[in-house]
Symmetry: D2
């Protein structure tokens, strides 16, 4: 099967008016089994103490896993996240940039499982998010 991957810019443009756009998610790589993006830790993405809000980690990851699923689905299908589990490991400081890399653990017909690893600018592990995507008829 030849898979036609969407242009990065086209996907980025779709995100702009949506929640990932509000947060400033910037896509870097879209491949069949891998989606990479970065996020600048603006003050209004933080929790008290000047570190990235836990919810921002989860929203960032959810975005990448969903993109990974969409580009792997056949025509005429849609997807919804049924479950997402996050382990928070380290904080990311305000005014730094974190990078998220989402890898396909499973790409089936009924479900896909994507795992996103978020790291600080220095490469320190911040969070690991594992999500299940259900594939449904559109």
């Amino acid at each position: 099967m030849t898979q036609l991957l969407p242009a990065l810019e086209a996907v980025q443009k779709i995100l702009e008016p949506l929640f990932p756009g509000l947060m400033g998610v910037r896509l870097l790589t879209i491949e069949s089994e891998r989606v990479i993006a970065e996020l600048f830790v603006r003050p209004d993405l933080c929790t008290a103490g000047g570190i990235l809000h836990g919810g921002a980690y989860m929203a960032f990851a959810d975005t990448l896993g969903a993109i990974g699923t969409v580009i792997n689905m056949p025509q005429g299908k849609r997807t919804t996240t049924t479950d997402s589990s996050t382990k928070f490991i380290g904080g990311a400081r305000v005014n730094t940039t974190v990078t998220g890399e989402s890898l396909a653990l499973h790409r089936g017909r009924t479900t896909m499982v994507w795992q996103t690893t978020i790291r600080s600018a220095e490469g320190k592990l911040c969070a690991v998010v594992t999500q299940t995507q259900l594939i449904l008829d559109a």
Copy 2:
């Protein structure tokens, strides 16, 4: 022990410049074992298709569980979320309002566990988020 609960307005004010403020989280109730808030589903909180982004559910819930933990901690302590698990059950449409109610499942000295149930304006169950908060020395 007499617990002095913070005024709702004081906590709301702390949230304003942070991620919950960006999202528009509005606190409604803060009690010892329960925190309630609402969120208007703005277009820029959505994913494609005009439904609330999964990440917004998770960020909304994480905010409530963290507030619940903070108001139950002794002086001289701080908290961090170590884990958050979300079951997505139903979508919330753009331009509606969802309500999140976070209840304490466990309030211990070392950890607390809070579970947030998010419902649509019609009372339909949208998501259940369960999070573990670690209590640390400040």
Copy 3:
């Protein structure tokens, strides 16, 4: 729709040669939205230190949530757990009995979500397990 619930003894008999039988899971109640069972904390269900093994909590709960799903499925369907998330809150001592109560959070056509609360003999909260069941054609 009239739902015919299976006799408790019939389900118990199915469990006997399987993993729940090995563990000694004893069903107490099977209702449409609730399944209750008990488990005696034998030494060979424990981890070091004479407390119930974390895996035993999870296997106990998985059993109850699956039974709850099966009794709610239409004919011609089967189910598989896609996700299970557990918060461990307190230990259960060897030679005591724990009780698990599994409640339906969602009973849809495509997925069901069941949450099992496990308590010690004194009613202390030990663990909360939330699982997603996918409904498939048999």
Copy 4:
């Protein structure tokens, strides 16, 4: 720091009278950042249909992640699992052998995070279990 790893046989012997012994968990490798074991899918570890019970996956993984944590803890500490999240991906047939490999995602002073990947005899991915271990004073 020189870390003295325990002899495989010594750990296996500790497991024998406990839940992992009941299940038949056989340790293969214990390294600082990796624990590997295998499990023969006996009929009494299965669910209906002759596939490994979801609870057995979780108990198998919980065992490996706990061993990994214990061998990395300083003297005078103990550990407890606070959270475990499992994605079920594929079934393992009765009378086959599955292998679990647990890797350290994080080894901190307060928490450790271990992720166990369980594969069938043919190398097919069956489940991914991610758990958080809290480190406490003994």
